[in-house]
């Protein structure tokens, strides 16, 4: 059987007005905080905490977690971003190294020395190569 609160020494109406406890217990001001005297009962605090926690129902997930996860935005992780960036740099460096390795630099220089190809053509090839390399780099970074 439940204990009837209204049967206690003060009624619900008095509880609502908040007068009775102040009059009963009196008020104490400590460190600028107003508190009823005699209210610091650690046993009561423990008991009350236990009762509050014991009487709290556990709410079943009931699809809540799935709804939250479905609405989460896809966030790229910092570590995977860094890893992807490192791979991109490595790919660009490797590609550049292969191009440099395969490029017939000696022949081009020799031909340039013999002026068998025009300087304008050489500059044109260089600009074109730079553009291709930059486009490739940008494309790789976007991927």
């Amino acid at each position: 059987m439940a204990k009837h609160l209204h049967g206690n020494s003060y009624s619900a109406q008095q509880a609502r007005t908040g007068n009775k406890p102040d009059k009963v217990a009196g008020m104490v001001v400590k460190d600028g905080v107003i508190s009823p005297s005699g209210s610091n009962d650690p046993d009561f605090d423990t008991w009350l905490s236990q009762q509050l926690q014991f009487n709290e129902p556990h709410l079943d997930d009931d699809g809540f977690c799935e709804r939250v996860m479905a609405d989460l935005p896809p966030a790229p992780a910092k570590r995977s971003e860094r890893r992807a960036t490192r791979y991109q740099y490595a790919a660009v460096v490797a590609a550049s190294a292969i191009v440099c390795w395969q490029f017939p630099l000696d022949e081009v220089l020799a031909q340039a020395a013999q002026q068998s190809i025009s300087l304008y053509s050489l500059v044109g090839v260089a600009v074109l190569s730079s553009l291709v390399a930059m486009t490739g780099g940008i494309f790789a970074a976007r991927r």
């Binding site: 059987m1 439940a2 204990k3 609160l5 206690n8 020494s9 003060y10 619900a12 509880a15 609502r16 908040g18 009775k20 406890p21 009963v24 217990a25 460190d31 600028g32 905080v33 107003i34 508190s35 009823p36 209210s39 009962d41 009561f44 605090d45 008991w47 009350l48 905490s49 009762q51 509050l52 926690q53 009487n55 709290e56 129902p57 556990h58 709410l59 079943d60 997930d61 809540f64 977690c65 709804r67 939250v68 996860m69 609405d71 989460l72 935005p73 966030a75 790229p76 992780a77 910092k78 570590r79 995977s80």
Partner: protein, 184 residues
């Protein structure tokens, strides 16, 4: 494997591991939804929507979470802000049907509860909103006064006063039960 909050947060932020975040959601969903139901005056639909929004907002802001406070404190702060902001915006619009439905559900549940639970609920009902929230956060959720003050956006002294006044009221209202426990 049960990882602590810090490890799960690290996995979410550094590896983008959404399963780790799902674990955090499962860990706190019941407590947060229950707390928000009280804050939303029993409107369970609204409380769940707010809890869902809070989890999503927390996820988006997780890279900025510095770990100064516990994750639960931070999450509650976000959720309380959302509810208060919603209340300010939608003050005149109360979903009375949802409230009535929730209250009728609650009545059925209450009828099944033991007397202690009923009297405790009744005693909690005698407290002001602020007192009830302060007691809920400090004595039910185990937040410190400082954490509760941060969540409720109130000065520390005000929260302590709310807790002390609420404790005194509850002590008086639940005296009969206490005496029964003490006397065995």
């Amino acid at each position: 494997m049960n990882l602590n909050d810090e490890d799960l947060i690290r996995r979410v932020v550094e590896d983008g591991d959404q399963r780790a975040y799902a674990q955090l959601v499962r860990r706190y969903q019941s407590q947060l939804r229950f707390s928000l139901r009280q804050l939303c005056d029993g409107d369970q639909g609204l409380a769940d929507d707010m809890a869902q929004e809070a989890f999503i907002k927390a996820y988006k802001a997780l890279p900025a979470f510095r770990g100064d406070a516990r994750f639960s404190t931070w999450l509650y702060r976000i959720a309380y802000n959302l509810v208060m902001s919603h209340k300010r915006k939608n003050a005149p619009e109360v979903d009375q049907e949802a409230v009535d439905r929730a209250q009728s559900d609650q009545s059925v549940e209450e009828a099944q509860q033991l007397g202690m639970a009923r009297d405790l609920n009744s005693a909690m009902g005698e407290l002001s909103d602020a007192q009830r929230q302060a007691v809920h956060l400090c004595m039910q959720r185990g937040f410190s006064h400082e954490e509760a003050a941060s969540i409720m956006k109130l000065p520390l002294g005000t929260v302590k006063s709310h807790v002390n006044r609420a404790r005194a009221k509850l002590q008086t209202l639940l005296q009969a039960w206490r005496e029964e426990v003490v006397s065995g």
